[in-house]
């Protein structure tokens, strides 16, 4: 012990680097992963605001029947074709029905479809991606060929045709959109899995004999979660837009079930006379999709493992 002391360099030296200030010290202290992610996310104020707004929106969608000022079908001939006012913040349509109420009801369908598509396409895409990336070779080739094939199908024309043949309900349009949208998630997840698979800690786990499913769950999944979450938000935004588009053209959600899309079909015929009927449902689509995208962007920044503090 004594020998070591004498011969290591620095015998007699004192650590005399300038004393670090308190701020520097605090910066360096370690943090849990969750803390780091949450802190980074909070810095992204737009994403935070968007998150809050979306939560409120979904709560409103859930509580719609309880909170609407009027009934969905409440006809009021005295109030037809009115622009926005205090009694009717979004105006009324040609039957005097309150537009705000209708927008809220329409939102229920659009929001739920969007979320449903996001969740299920993520599940399917992630499953495909993880299996494909982890098992490799034949499984990978087969799954990826299928994925590539699905990607060559003409999206929008197909869903229009499907919508024309089968009348879409919120459930069935969710299914159709999921079938058309899982592929990008699969590819992204597969990419993430591939980069993790060759990491040493995975090889080590396999060498010890940890089962495949356990490895996938404990090692691989946490690493691709970041990518998945971001892509999921993109998918939700895209689904909301697609559903409204298809419904607008008449091949999606059919009246009388309201959706922002089919509300715009009606509104179109009186676009110049009652522009608010076109404006408000459309703005809701844009704002919702925008918030989802901002949220996704904030999550991306927060979850990026490569970002340096």
């Amino acid at each position: 012990m004594v020998e070591h002391d004498r011969t290591t360099l620095g015998a007699g030296a004192q650590d005399n680097a300038a004393e670090p200030s308190v701020e520097e010290y605090v910066k360096v202290r370690g943090r849990t992963q969750r803390e780091i992610i949450w802190r980074r996310f909070r810095r992204h104020r737009l994403a935070m605001a968007s998150g809050v707004f979306l939560v409120l929106l979904y709560l409103a969608a859930l509580a719609t029947p309880a909170i609407v000022p009027y009934e969905y079908d409440e006809i009021d001939y005295a109030a037809i074709n009115q622009g926005p006012s205090l009694e009717h913040p979004m105006g009324t349509d040609r039957l005097g029905r309150d537009e705000l109420t209708r927008v809220l009801y329409g939102g229920r369908v659009s929001l739920v479809v969007g979320l449903g598509v996001g969740v299920f396409s993520t599940l399917i895409g992630a499953a495909v991606g993880i299996f494909s990336g982890y098992y490799g070779r034949a499984v990978d080739t087969a799954l990826m060929s299928f994925t590539d094939f699905m990607l060559t199908l003409p999206f929008i024309p197909l869903i229009l045709v499907l919508g024309s043949i089968f009348n879409f309900t919120p459930a069935s349009i969710t299914l159709a959109l999921v079938i058309l949208l899982w592929m990008n998630m699969a590819r992204l997840v597969r990419g993430g899995v591939l980069s993790v698979r060759e990491q040493e800690y995975v090889l080590a786990a396999r060498a010890i004999g940890v089962s495949d499913s356990r490895i996938m769950l404990r090692h691989v999944l946490p690493n691709v979660v970041g990518v998945m979450v971001v892509q999921a938000t993109l998918t939700v935004a895209l689904a909301i837009i697609l559903e409204s588009t298809v419904s607008f053209l008449g091949f999606g959600i059919q009246p009388p079930t309201p959706s922002w899309g089919n509300m715009l079909t009606d509104a179109r015929s009186t676009m110049t006379q009652q522009p608010w009927l076109t404006w408000f449902p459309g703005m809701m689509i844009v704002i919702t999709a925008l918030c989802v995208n901002f949220l996704g962007d904030g999550l991306r920044d927060a979850l990026d493992p490569k970002a340096v503090e």
Binding site: D148, F149, T152, L153, P154, F155, I156, P157, L158, L160, V161, L162, S164, I165, F166, A237, I241, S244, T245, F248, L249, G250, F251, L264, R268, M271, T272, P275, T278, W279, G282, I285, V286, I287, A289, L290, V292, N293, F294, D297
Partner: protein, 321 residues
């Protein structure tokens, strides 16, 4: 290199094969194309039976599929009972309007998105860059049909009212009785703006990101060390590398552009293939829809192929892979 090209081509054919099966299968789930003829009391059953035989409509599904594909390979896209015409004849006159719309949109998009993306990367976090990022988000979040409606309202109706004369037309391709180039442009502008919006948002961000990657590369420093001016380094060394990913993205995106064209054409009553699709579906004419679907699939596969080849040409590291 040649082997690579050939291999990709064969693979494309296989993909098309499966796509055609899928399309055929899905459409066959639709209603019977002869249902109106059958319900029409004035058409004798004899005629209905004859038509059924001629077009092989009583045959099994696989047999009908083969007949259809056989026809496709000869350029025959089938017959539309609803519109009483060969599908091909319905399609052909609609080709040019769609090409015009998509082509103009593509040129417009590239001319704006690429320089903007490059500039945003070089002047990262500047006002222009941040504004661009925000606008891109808005672009991503906006349904194109709604943008079309708003443009019709504002730049079409309101602007005309304010200016006292018609500036942009909100539907159709030409004014009745034909019109010159100016008339065409007046009709073309709003649809092109609508179709391009999302693409501009997407490509400019992508180009920015590609350019940022390149800007941090070592070989740019080497180029400067040789005595090149900053400008030369950006335009010659950086751009050449930064354009590669964007070119492939554009080629791959063509497929999505087709879908976008369907929406835009329908909103603006632009007489192209997209409008034909929507119109046929409204009429319940699935033979036409089927023909358009297979054309879309062919185009998508074709552009994917082009993208692959382009990528390997532009990036010399790929050809040998």
């Amino acid at each position: 290199m040649l082997a690579y090209t050939v291999r990709k081509f064969l693979f494309s054919l296989v993909v098309l094969f499966f796509a055609s099966i899928t399309i055929f299968g899905l459409v066959s789930l639709g209603p019977d194309p002869l249902v109106e003829l059958k319900n029409n009391p004035r058409i004798p059953a004899e005629d209905v039976r004859r038509i059924t035989e001629i077009y092989g409509l009583d045959k099994s599904l696989p047999e009908r599929y083969i007949i259809w594909v056989g026809g496709l390979l000869q350029g025959d896209l089938g017959y539309s009972f609803k519109q009483q015409s060969d599908v091909t004849d319905l399609i052909v006159p609609r080709i040019w309007p769609t090409i015009l719309l998509m082509g103009s949109s593509l040129i417009f998009t590239v001319m704006i998105a690429i320089p903007f993306g490059v500039y945003s990367a070089i002047k990262k976090y500047s006002l222009v860059d941040n504004a661009g990022t925000f606008l891109s988000f808005v672009g991503y979040s906006m349904p194109s049909f709604w943008l079309g409606l708003i443009l019709q309202l504002t730049l079409g109706v309101y602007l005309t009212g304010w200016a006292g004369m018609r500036i942009f037309y909100t539907s159709g391709m030409t004014s009745p009785g034909g019109g010159g180039l100016v008339d065409l442009l007046q009709h073309l502008t709003l649809p092109v703006l609508t179709l391009s919006a999302i693409s501009i948002a997407s490509y400019s961000r992508f180009q920015r990101s590609a350019m940022l990657d390149v800007l941090s590369a070592d070989y740019l420093r080497t180029a400067r060390a040789k005595g090149l001016s900053r400008r030369s380094v950006y335009l010659k060394h950086a751009l050449r590398n930064a354009l590669v990913p964007v070119v492939t993205v554009i080629a791959l995106d063509m497929g999505v552009l087709l879908g976008g064209a369907v929406i835009t054409e329908t909103v603006f009553a632009w007489p192209g293939l997209g409008f034909l699709l929507a119109d046929s579906l409204y009429k319940g004419d699935y033979n036409v829809a089927q023909g358009l679907l297979i054309i879309s699939a062919v185009l998508i596969v074709f552009f994917n192929y082009v993208a692959d080849i382009a990528y390997s040409v532009l990036d010399p590291r790929i050809s040998y892979g």
